[in-house]
Every structure is written in C-alpha cells, then in structure tokens.
C-alpha cells in the first residue's frame, strides 16, 4: 500500500471513528420548541381513563389536570385543580374546593360537575388503570359535586393524604370536559372512549394537536393555563425506537431530550460535549421469586440461604450500573422505605443454612426469565451463584407473555420478575408482596404469612409516623422470611442538551410534568 493510500484510509477511519467526543453541533430545533425522542408505539390511548402505558400516561398528564398533585418528595398532596381540601375525621371523605377561573382547552369552565363526571366515567369504563379508582372508591356515586366549585369524594377506607393523592393525582382521574365528551359520544360508545383515544378534552398545560401512531405526538402550549402559559410553545414526542438512533439524533441536534438511552450510551453524554444526564431511581423493583408451593422453598432456611448465595454487586455490573442495589420491597425515595441491606454474598453462611434445612446435597429447580436484556444474563449469574450451594438451576428463557402466564398460574419454581408501583404509596407494594389475600405476588408465590394483617391495617392508619413504622415492620418481615430476593431498583436516565431546563425524570410516569420546561 502506498503512503498516499494509507493516508486516505487513515483519514477515512478518523472521520468515522472520532465523532461523538466532539462538541454538540448547534440544535436544529427552534428555541420555543421542545422535541423528545423516545418510544411511543406502546401507547394505546390518550384517554385518561385508559392511558396505562409509559408514554400515554405521561402525555395524558400534560393534557389533563388532576385534583391534586404529589409533593416532590411524595410525602404529601399539593394543590392542582383543587385549591384546597378538607378531610373528615375518619379520613374516608374529602371535600375539594376548585381553583377559580380554570378553563378547559375548549374554553368551557372547569367545574365540580366535570370532576364528578370524569371520575365516574373512569369508574364506569372499567379499563386498564380503573382499579386505581375502584380499589378505593366503591361506587361512581361516591364522587359528587355538592356545589359548582365543590366536589366530595367518599372513599371505601381511611385514606391518609399520600394515599388519597395516589388516586386523585393519578392520570386515570384526569378531569375531562363533559361537553366535549358528550358531543363525541355515540350510542355504541356513550362515554366517547374511542374518540378520546386521540383527541383532547382537557385543561392541562398543553393541548393535543395530533398523534400519528408510531411516529409522533404533537402538543401546543395552552394560553389560558392556570399556572400561566408554558414557556415551550410546541412539544413533540418523536418515535425513535432504537437507542443508538436516539443518541445520534440528540448529538446531531434533531431532538432535545432522549428518553431511552442504554447505560453505555449515557456515559458518552458529558457537560463538556454540551449534554447532561438526569437520573432517578424508579419506584420499581427487580426481584427473584421462589414459589413456596415447591417443596424446598417451603423452608425459610433455604430461602435465606439463597439470599446469602447471590452476588448482588455482580448483578449491578450486569445492569451496567443502571440500578441501585436495594433489598426491601418499598423502593428508595418512597414514604416508609427501609434502607436495610442485610444480605451480601456469604457462601459459608448459605451452606450452613442449607445444612440446617437438611438439604446440604442441594436440589434441582427451574428458573424462568423473559428475553428482556439483560435478564437472561442475570439468570445465568444466579445459576452460577446457586450452584455453589448445591442448587442446580435450569434456566428457561421465555417470551415475557409466557413468563407472566406461568407466574399467574403459579406453576413456576424460580422466576425473575419486576414490579412497578402503580401509585407512590407503600400500600401498593406491601399489598403485592405481602398480602396473600390481595391475590397478587404473595398469592402467586403461595406465601400466606400473618404479616398480611399488618398490611391491611397499615393502609387505614391515620398517624403518618405510626404508618411509616408499620411499613418498615412489613419490609423487615418480608426481608427476613419472604420468598423474594430483591436485587435492584432500576434507574431512569434521560439524556438532554445542556440548555434544557425543567425536564426531570420522575420515579413514576404519572408524575412527569414539563409545564415549566424551557431552554
């Protein structure tokens, strides 16, 4: 090869390989427009009574107001459409006074009648997120407008303020404009659910301009929003499925925010290159569950031995550090979280416990796991760890649909799964993991423990300090005796251009708010 050829090839390689480290090129997005790149193709409907997937919920949050919102630390409710409220002494009935002068995007006033209509509508439609309402409000008539600006909500149990907000700050109770809904109702669809899937009847910070499925959602700032017109005139959420393509679009200046980057890509975004990354632990949990219906897992010693056999730090490495290691069922950042981490890899202790259980020669067990990256690698690591205490694990990698069906049918032995909080109150997790009667995870793993009585009592406890203590007790019992090895609270990481302000990841998709976003 001549030196000229070598030079040409060298230059070509350099142009191709030295890209991302260079400073960000200027954004090609206009100053008053914000463009998100992410995955919206899982969205089914933007009707607040139906929105339940990640993107649809946080988009619905921008279009619809709820009565209240969460404080940033998720310890109390703060006003939103309701300017104030009072609670009955037994915390079962709340009366809300609406903020005066609020308008829907249609120009109609936001009234107590609209709130009544909206929550009753969610109750009657009985769609995916409706259980968040029906679990706590038994009948549609329990929500009633008592005056043009006053609405009374009667719950089926005592509702401490955070739990009340879990229902009434949730997108499913978003306030819709009854006149718009009724105008678009049909005899076959009297609550206009189909029309509402991709149309707007809200009063939120942004109006829905259009939704091209699998392509983009376009929003426009609402001029008469009660908090003032949002700084960004237009917001686009563009479908970019592939994380590498998202990164390229961000670096090229075609989007301002990349919502679903891989952990290795996040590391490439540095302030020096004109980008920042914001991250938060989510209110969700990755765990290994053991079905107590399988003989060896009936033994508490075996369950504890397994907790001592697993290498938690190695699992964190498999997740490329995009998790926080945690071992309790209430995630970090949520009210009542117990930060205890009693387990770390200790093979002597684990083997001793296996001996105590009379299973020093080990046993065979099947572990099912979905194809979602990197879970098969986590399963392989757990197989390797458990082999060291004599447990021979047969890993079966299945479609996530099959993992779910097997888990529901209670025919698994080991399963790697995840649980994301539906609302930011420890009740949601305690019920799932520790209350057999709720027929969720404790039921699926056939673990019927007296701690369920504490779970059922804690949700009704009115004293915050005592309530927090009860949840800590529940977590301790589950940590010591439960059939779960909790190994991670996943992080949510968002990459953005350094000039973007007011876009913060939230532990829950129901609490995303970019009404103050600017750049």
């Amino acid at each position: 090869m001549s030196s000229r050829h070598a030079l040409v090839i060298g230059l070509l390689v350099l142009t191709l390989v030295l890209p991302a480290a260079a400073a960000a090129p200027p954004s090609r997005v206009p100053a008053n427009v914000l463009v998100f790149g992410g995955v919206i193709s899982d969205s089914i409907s933007l009707d607040p009574a139906e929105a339940f997937e990640f993107a649809s919920v946080w988009v619905a949050n921008q279009i619809y107001d709820t009565l209240v919102d969460f404080s940033r630390d998720f310890t109390r409710a703060v006003p939103k459409a309701a300017a104030s409220w009072t609670a009955s002494a037994d915390l079962t009935t709340y009366t809300f006074r609406l903020r005066p002068g609020m308008r829907f995007h249609s120009g109609n006033p936001v009234t107590a009648g609209a709130v009544e209509f909206s929550i009753r509508r969610a109750h009657r439609l009985k769609l995916s997120p409706s259980f968040i309402v029906t679990d706590f409000i038994k009948a549609p008539e329990d929500v009633a407008a008592t005056a043009p600006d006053t609405v009374r909500v009667r719950f089926s149990q005592a509702m401490p303020e955070v739990l009340m907000a879990s229902v009434l700050a949730n997108a499913v109770t978003g306030i819709v404009d009854p006149a718009v809904v009724q105008r678009n109702a049909t005899p076959a669809d009297p609550l206009a659910n189909k029309w509402m899937a991709d149309h707007d009847a809200g009063s939120g910070a942004y109006e829905l301009i259009g939704w091209s499925r699998n392509l983009k959602i376009e929003l426009k700032a609402f001029d008469n929003y009660w908090r003032g017109r949002p700084p960004m005139g237009r917001v686009f959420i563009q479908e970019i499925l592939e994380p590498t393509a998202q990164l390229l679009a961000l670096q090229r200046g075609d989007i301002d925010v990349a919502l679903s980057l891989l952990p290795s890509q996040v590391a490439q975004l540095t302030p020096q290159s004109g980008f920042i990354v914001k991250k938060t632990p989510t209110f969700s949990i990755r765990y290994l569950a053991m079905n107590v219906g399988y003989e060896p897992f009936r033994s508490r010693q075996v369950r504890t031995a397994i907790k001592f056999a697993i290498d938690y730090e190695a699992i964190k490495g498999i997740f490329e550090n995009a998790i926080e290691v945690g071992e309790t069922i209430v995630p970090a950042g949520m009210f009542g979280h117990l930060p205890d981490r009693p387990y770390s890899k200790n093979l002597d202790r684990a083997r001793a416990l296996m001996r105590e259980a009379g299973l020093e020669r080990g046993f065979n067990a099947e572990l099912i796991v979905s194809t979602e990256i990197p879970l098969p690698d986590v399963a392989a690591k757990i197989k390797e760890d458990l082999a060291q205490i004599g447990i021979n694990v047969d890993v079966k990698v299945l479609r996530s649909a099959d993992v779910t069906s097997t888990y529901r049918a209670r025919t698994h032995q080991f399963v790697i799964a995840r649980w994301g909080a539906d609302y930011p109150d420890p009740d949601n997790l305690a019920k799932a993991f520790a209350d057999f009667d709720s027929r969720v995870l404790a039921f699926r793993n056939q673990w019927d423990h007296p701690v369920k009585q504490v779970v059922q009592a804690a949700v009704k406890e009115r004293d915050q300090a005592r309530r927090a203590a009860m949840y800590r007790d529940i977590q301790k019992v589950v940590l010591d005796e439960g059939p779960y090895v909790i190994f991670a609270y996943p992080l949510r990481q968002i990459g953005m251009r350094a000039n973007v302000r007011g876009v913060d990841p939230s532990p829950l998709n129901i609490t995303y708010d970019f009404s103050n976003a600017s750049k």
Partner: protein
C-alpha cells in the same frame, strides 16, 4: 387466459382459507394468555377475566373460530387486543408505509441488481466480475440491523446528507389521508415540500431493506445471463456483426429475464410482509413491527389480519409473476 386467471384466483382462495385455518388453530395451541400478556403482570385478575369475556376468549376454540369466520364474511377482522382498535384500521394505517418502503427497496434492487448482474456477466472472469461477486457476498452476509446503524451513522450523523429516523421530519404534518402512502398523498395534496422530505427519509431504509434483494437479483441476473450468453443464437448474433449492446440487452437480457422475474416476485412479496429490523432502526411505522408485536403478545385478531394480508400478497405476487412470463415469452401459453 381468462379461464386461467379465474382458476388461479380460485386456487388462491382455497390456499388462503387453508392458511387461515392452520394459523388460527396453531396460534391458539401455543401456550400463554394473551389478555395477561397485554395487560401485564400487575393487572388484577378481575380485569383480565373481564377483558377475556369482552373479547370472547373465554369461549371454546371451535366457537371462537366460527365467530371469526362469521365476522370475516362481513369484512370484519375483529379488534386488536393490543391496540384496542379494529384490525382493519390498523392494517390500513400501517400497511401503506410498508408498501412505500418495499416498493422503493425493490425498485432499487431491480435497477441496481440487474445492472450489476449484467455487468458482472459480460465481464465474466475479469476483476469487475470478481469485485461484484465479492461485494455480493458481503452484502448477503451483512446483518440488516448493523448495516442500518452504520448507514445512519455515516449519512445522517457524520455527513448530514440524509435525514434520521422516521418517515418525515418531525415538524412536518402528514398530508391528508387518501392512500396512506405519504409520497402519493403529498403529491395528491400538491405538497411538494413534504414529498421531497419523504423521499429523503426513504433513501436509507430502502437501501438497507433492499440490500439483500439487490444482491439476490444481481446474482441471479449474472447466472442467468451467463447461461444465455453461451447459447448458439448469441454466437450467431455476434457473428452477424450486431453491436454488443444489442446482443446483450435485446437478445440476451430479454431471454434471461424469466428467472429474474421469479426472484423479483418472491423478494417483493417478502418485502411487503414488513421488515421488523429495518422498521426498528429507522422508526418506520410499518407492518413488520405490528406483526411482530402481535405474535409476541398473542394478539389473535391482529395475527389473523396480518396472515390474511400476507397470504393475499403472496398469491397476488405469484399470479403477477406467472402472467409476466407470458408477456416476456410469447411461447408460454396459459391453459
């Protein structure tokens, strides 16, 4: 000719009916709960039971099949469990994007593939021929996903010559729906900016998706041309002193076209099924992703809808290829 056409259409209907029966029962035999899969691991049981009842999934399998056939007879493909919309509406929304991409890919494959194949054949044994065969092998071996990302990197990110993922720039509005194909609809609406932008967005996915077809067509063209170029009538044509261009294009290529047309038909049918990897890399809203997610979530109505569409496409593609034989070779008669 007409009786042949009617007979072929009848045979195609029988084949499609057979495919439907097989796919319906096979997709229901696969273990798993579609409602549980759609609603996810956290949905309460009563909600799952309610949805299962609403979609008739609690009924015996034969009853579900009878209901499916009844609905089909009325042109109703049912409602997708995943999108909660009529399947026919989903297909109308997603299939046009696939038609656009598949057509652009096959055009690229035909134009470049046939040209390269002819050049390779007429330079048989020389360095151009070796180079074509070498690059064909690379083209066939290159994973589509990888090729897509590399092309995005070079042409979009590095040099900014072509746009990034998506069917249109995010700030542009789709033209009013007529055919669902952005190119066609923007022409109908005389929106030439959108048309130009859509063409730009089409280049990279079309190159990626068409790369395998291009290589396949080039290889079959080369092989078929080599065979024809060795026949006596070509030698006679050359002996008569005809120009090489006339020999190659008028006498050789036309007679070499039959196997090429067959391959083009098969490739086009395959491309119209959608291509999940290309659609994923370029965020293309086509049928491939819809079909894949339907299969993964056991969305029966969507699976059946896509099956019907694909069976129709293949039957039609085969029929068109067979009819094209007669046009290209008058010796072929339809009986």
């Amino acid at each position: 000719m007409w009786s042949y056409l009617v007979r072929r259409l009848l045979l195609a209907s029988v084949a499609i009916a057979g495919v439907l029966v097989i796919v319906f029962f096979l997709s229901h035999v696969i273990p798993g709960d579609p409602v549980g899969a759609i609603l996810g691991p956290q949905a309460p049981q009563d909600l799952i039971d309610d949805l299962r009842q609403r979609y008739g999934l609690d009924r015996p399998l034969y009853e579900q099949f009878v209901r499916f056939v009844e609905r089909l007879a009325h042109g109703d493909l049912g409602t997708s469990l995943a999108t909660k919309r009529p399947v026919i509406r989903d297909l109308i929304e997603f299939f046009p994007a696939t038609i656009e991409l598949a057509t652009a890919s096959i055009l690229l494959g035909v134009v470049v593939g046939v040209s390269v194949g002819v050049i390779s054949a007429v330079t048989h044994g020389r360095w151009i021929d070796h180079a074509v065969r070498f690059f064909s092998l690379i083209g066939l071996s290159m994973p589509v996903f990888w090729l897509g990302l590399i092309l995005l990197y070079i042409f979009y990110f590095k040099f900014g010559l072509l746009p990034g993922p998506g069917q249109l720039d995010v700030f542009l509005t789709r033209p009013p729906f007529v055919t669902g194909m952005v190119l066609v609809d923007s022409l109908i609406a005389r929106d030439f900016d959108t048309f130009g932008n859509a063409i730009h967005h089409l280049w990279l996915p079309a190159i990626v998706l068409g790369s395998h077809a291009l290589v396949g067509i080039a290889r079959i063209t080369r092989a078929s041309m080599l065979e024809v170029l060795g026949l006596d009538y070509i030698k006679v044509a050359r002996a008569k002193g005809l120009a090489e261009r006339t020999v190659v294009f008028k006498h050789a290529l036309r007679n070499a076209l039959l196997p090429i047309i067959t391959v083009i038909g098969i490739y086009y049918g395959g491309l119209l099924e959608g291509a999940v990897l290309t659609e994923t890399v370029f965020s293309w809203p086509g049928l491939g992703r819809y079909a894949t997610s339907a299969i993964l979530s056991q969305d029966f109505a969507a699976i059946m809808g896509v099956t019907i569409l694909i069976a129709l496409i293949f039957s039609l593609a085969n029929l068109v290829v067979d009819l094209a034989y007669g046009i290209l070779n008058p010796k072929i008669r339809y009986e």
